[in-house]
């Protein structure tokens, strides 16, 4: 299908604002009389607050308020950024207080100070006297489930948040029937989002007594609900404003600082209070990606036919549930519509430990499970002596596949083409041959991995998106969406959809980029790679409605029937003749000012999207291994994606570049480390946490296989999270190819690689003759 604007690399709408410094982020707004909030954090991994003396802190000049859990309503609330569920059984775990009376990790927030400036607030923190009763703590999921382990929360025996799983077919029977049963253990580490803008909010009480929160969030409407719940306020008494945001990656799909910022303002008589976390705080008290341990057991025939798989997954969620078991369940749902297993048994457990809280992060459980599965498939291929790509090809699902559990139907499936394209781009066969029989300290290897991902959350959760369009007098339109621009380019994509439907140049579509819950249409926000797919449908619907109204007014003007006309480049055209009959501006002016019939052209719609579409793709990578130092570098990498129609190729490439670099960080460098004795974070800063710099990042190549997805607007499917899923196993498989050494845990940190290489005999023992 030919489009004018969809499919073009339109310049992002906010580019000029961002390149000139005009884009205002949460910390760029100043209120008169603004105070600063700071938080006192527990030095213990597990401890009950026994007594509190705030008198010295309160007496410090310049301090406006000091408070602890004792001064706040004792309401437990859930922080996960999910739409509210009317079914109490389907709600997130309510295990959190704004400030806690029992510390459950080193850094848990126990007291807050509001003061005239940051230095005074910090001084006041040092004057707070708290007596703790220190409890034993647990840092690993295995330890947390042991008999007699200290319990973090009262109502969760064994510290298990949930062990709900799913299955279909009879996996045990397949183990009996298959030629081989192959098992493997795989593990991922704790990583962090590291958006460059901190987690920040400021709050005040307005003249009507309502609490106004300005926040760097992906989910303003959900923040509004949760702030109200946490403070025991009617939801309508909270207003949340989301300006430009400096990255989220899922961390801001959680309600982290907003209830506390609101509580700080309320404690200070409604004065504006800013609570902006330090980078060190962001690492320990926002969210992380769940460290997972997976045991995979697969029934496979000698010819490579995968018959059944049993996945046991242990997810360490840290001290509070946050998104909790949803992330493990997401992991279990995404690989099924990729490989045609006759039976699947998925047994996940999400477990509390005394570590910082894990939550949503780009990929939502899938980077972990695909690291395990795609590593496992290469291990199986080696065992069976089958080419790893052939093994995968043999077991792919086909278009029309219906998931037996979600009932989602696969309507577009570009994986075979992605494989073909990836092999060609990286020159797979040629390089594979060249890499045979390598010796010596520098070795090259090739690896690949596949992934599948969804577009939104249907059928698990509500998928509702709102869009509002107002046509202005000059024929331009202003679009408002509840979906949030967080850097991914969604505003631009929505403008493209609107412009395409309405026959407008992109410059005639204005998008309100700020979300304000008082004004903005309802939408749950940026997560689950849902916005282009779900909100795109709402925007298209709103634009169609505007189009219909435009043509009705034009019909009134021209005497032609609406169906005989079209809007092209701001003109109304008689379709059959290609003849311009009037300008769009004429129509808009009629709609505003006709003395009898004036009714400005607007639409205000919602789409309740009860369909899903799977996105697919593959990573192909060549690595360079320095056997002597244990360093692995990426020599060449391709991510090939089937995300349906690509609405904006340049923005899409940007998503791939960023996602792949994030994945390479997790594959090779990034991990949060904790003192095994105390549970204290060892590297909660951007020097010691090895976020890749520009010099650590290889050239990343993005390619697309454009299928047409019938369910999506203009044939599109999800993309935002997809690129982060398959690079890590591809790198791991490439190292296996280069060295014959199979790694089972990421990151492939040089220290660990060195140890494994030595174990494997790749390094000669040094003749150490000193002590």
């Amino acid at each position: 299908m030919d489009h004018n604007i969809v499919g073009k690399s339109v310049t992002r709408l906010d580019a000029v604002a961002k390149v000139t410094g005009k884009a205002k982020y949460t910390d760029d707004f100043f209120e008169r009389d603004m105070l600063v909030g700071k938080v006192l954090r527990s030095p213990h991994a597990h401890a009950v607050v026994k007594s509190v003396d705030l008198s010295r802190a309160r007496a410090l000049p310049g301090v406006a308020a000091v408070f602890t859990a004792l001064d706040l309503p004792k309401i437990k609330f859930a922080t996960a950024g999910h739409p509210w569920s009317l079914d109490p059984g389907h709600r997130d775990v309510e295990d959190r207080l704004i400030l806690t009376d029992k510390a459950r990790f080193v850094g848990d927030a126990v007291a807050a100070v509001v003061a005239e400036d940051a230095l005074t607030a910090e001084k006041a923190l040092r004057l707070i006297d708290i007596e703790y009763e220190v409890l034993p703590h647990v840092l690993t999921a295995e330890d947390a489930m042991k008999e007699g382990a200290p319990l973090l929360h009262e109502n969760r025996p064994g510290n298990v948040v949930s062990s709900f799983g799913v299955q279909f077919g009879d996996v045990e029977a397949e183990f009996g029937r298959a030629d081989h049963v192959i098992e493997g253990d795989y593990e991922t580490s704790v990583v962090q989002h590291c958006h460059i803008e901190s987690m920040s909010a400021f709050a005040y009480v307005d003249a009507d007594g309502r609490v106004v929160v300005n926040s760097s969030t992906q989910i303003p409407h959900i923040v509004r609900r949760i702030v109200a719940q946490a403070l025991g306020l009617p939801w309508g008494r909270v207003q949340v404003i989301k300006p430009y945001i400096g990255g989220g990656f899922g961390n801001k799909q959680d309600v982290v600082v907003e209830p506390l910022a609101a509580a700080m303002s309320l404690a200070a008589g409604g004065r504006p209070v800013r609570y902006c976390m330090t980078r060190e705080e962001v690492f320990i008290d926002t969210r992380t990606r769940h460290a997972m341990k997976l045991h995979l057991k697969t029934a496979v025939d000698a010819d490579g036919t995968l018959r059944g798989i049993h996945v046991q997954l242990l997810s360490n969620t840290g001290a509070y549930a946050s998104h909790g078991h949803s992330i493990a369940m997401s992991a279990g749902g995404k690989f099924r519509p990729l490989y045609d297993f006759a039976s699947v048994k998925f047994e996940p457990k999400t477990v509390y430990t005394n570590l910082p809280v894990a939550g949503a992060m780009r990929g939502y459980g899938t980077p972990q499970i695909f690291f395990a599965l795609e590593s496992h498939l290469d291990d199986i291929a080696r065992r069976l002596g089958i080419d790893p790509i052939e093994l995968r090809r043999k077991n792919l699902i086909k278009v029309g596949h219906q998931d037996p559990l979600t009932k989602n139907v696969v309507r577009s499936f570009g994986i075979p083409q992605c494989i073909e394209k990836g092999m060609e781009l990286i020159r797979w066969d040629e390089k594979r041959r060249a890499h045979l029989d390598q010796k010596g300290p520098r070795r090259r290897g090739l690896g690949m991995a596949l992934f599948a991902y969804a577009s939104g959350t249907h059928p698990v959760a509500l998928e509702l998106a709102g869009a509002r369009i107002v046509m202005n007098q000059d024929g331009s339109v202003t679009l408002q969406v509840g979906a949030t621009e967080i850097g991914q380019g969604s505003d631009t994509v929505f403008a493209q959809i609107t412009a395409e439907v309405l026959g407008l140049p992109i410059g005639m579509v204005h998008v309100v980029t700020t979300q304000d819950t008082d004004i903005t249409p309802f939408d749950s926000g940026a997560y689950a790679s849902r916005q282009t797919f779900v909100t795109g449908i709402a925007v298209r619907k709103a634009a169609m409605e505007v189009r219909d109204k435009v043509l009705e007014v034009a019909a009134r003007r021209t005497g032609l029937a609406p169906a005989e006309m079209d809007i092209r480049d701001c003109r109304i055209v008689e379709t059959a003749l290609g003849r311009v009959v009037c300008s769009l501006e004429d129509v808009a002016m009629d709609a505003y000012y006709d003395r009898l019939l004036a009714a400005p052209i607007t639409s205000d719609t919602s789409a309740n999207v009860r369909i899903n579409a799977m996105s697919y793709g593959a990573t192909f990578v060549e690595v360079d291994v320095d056997v002597e130092t244990g360093k692995v570098e990426v020599a060449e990498i391709w991510n090939v994606h089937d995300s349906g129609t690509i609405i904006n190729p340049r923005l899409a490439e940007g998503q791939v570049h960023g996602g792949v670099s994030m994945a390479l960080g997790a594959a090779l460098l990034e991990q949060m480390l904790f003192d095994p004795q105390t549970g204290k974070a060892l590297n909660n800063n951007l020097l010691d946490y090895k976020l890749p710099t520009i010099l650590d990042t290889p050239r990343i190549n993005a390619a697309f296989v454009e299928t047409f997805e019938a369910a999506g607007s203009f044939g599109s499917k999800s993309l935002g999270e997809c690129p982060v899923i398959s690079p890590a196993p591809a790198v791991r498989n490439a190292v296996l190819d280069a060295t014959g050494v199979a790694f089972h845990k990421i990151p492939l940190y040089p220290q660990v690689v060195f140890e494994k290489f030595r174990e494997a005999g790749l390094l000669a023992q040094r003749s150490v003759d000193h002590v």
């Binding site: 580019a15 000139t20 982020y25 100043f30 989002h193 958006h195 940007g654 990042t697």
Partner: protein, 159 residues
């Protein structure tokens, strides 16, 4: 303790009484409202707060405001002239080097310093000279493309 300093910000003279405890970042953002200067880590590890001091990129979060006395400071707000984007800004826009935009001001300034140095840089040198900026959105790819485009165009313009 107060100190009166006189400096130029984006070419305009500013005289201001500062607290010696303030960083240049504090003064630029909180007092002068140059909010294009971003705070990402406060300890010189991310580069978001980069400004040019006498043309040289510096992390303003670990630079005492008192030291700016007599200096010429450029923030991202001073790059566009008369409402027109600079060639560096144009290159960032055209190459799609922008996502969330939080690291963008610093990178625009470091790239501007490279362009204004009049020197030639190899691909690896460009990467090295931008390596003091962390970006989590872009994988740096289009940022390098933008910087190289700006340098190429500047070179062509000077020939």
């Amino acid at each position: 303790m107060q100190k009166r300093i006189a400096l130029k910000v984006n070419g305009r003279p500013v005289q201001i009484e500062i607290d010696i405890r303030e960083s240049l970042l504090d003064v630029l953002r909180d007092r002068l409202q140059f909010t294009g200067v971003k705070q990402g880590c406060s300890v010189g590890e991310c580069g978001a707060c980069t400004v040019l001091i006498d043309g040289v990129p510096v992390n303003s979060c670990i630079y005492l405001a008192a030291w700016a006395d007599g200096k010429s400071v450029t923030t991202v707000e001073g790059i566009a002239q008369d409402g027109r984007l600079s060639p560096v800004q144009e290159a960032f826009v055209e190459e799609g080097a922008i996502q969330c935009g939080f690291c963008t001001p610093g990178l625009v300034l470091s790239t501007t310093a490279l362009v204004e140095s009049g020197k030639r840089f190899t691909h690896d040198e460009v990467r090295r000279e931008l390596s003091g900026h962390l970006c989590r959105c872009t994988g740096y790819q289009k940022i390098i493309d933008a910087a190289e485009r700006a340098l190429r165009e500047a070179e062509a313009a000077s020939e």
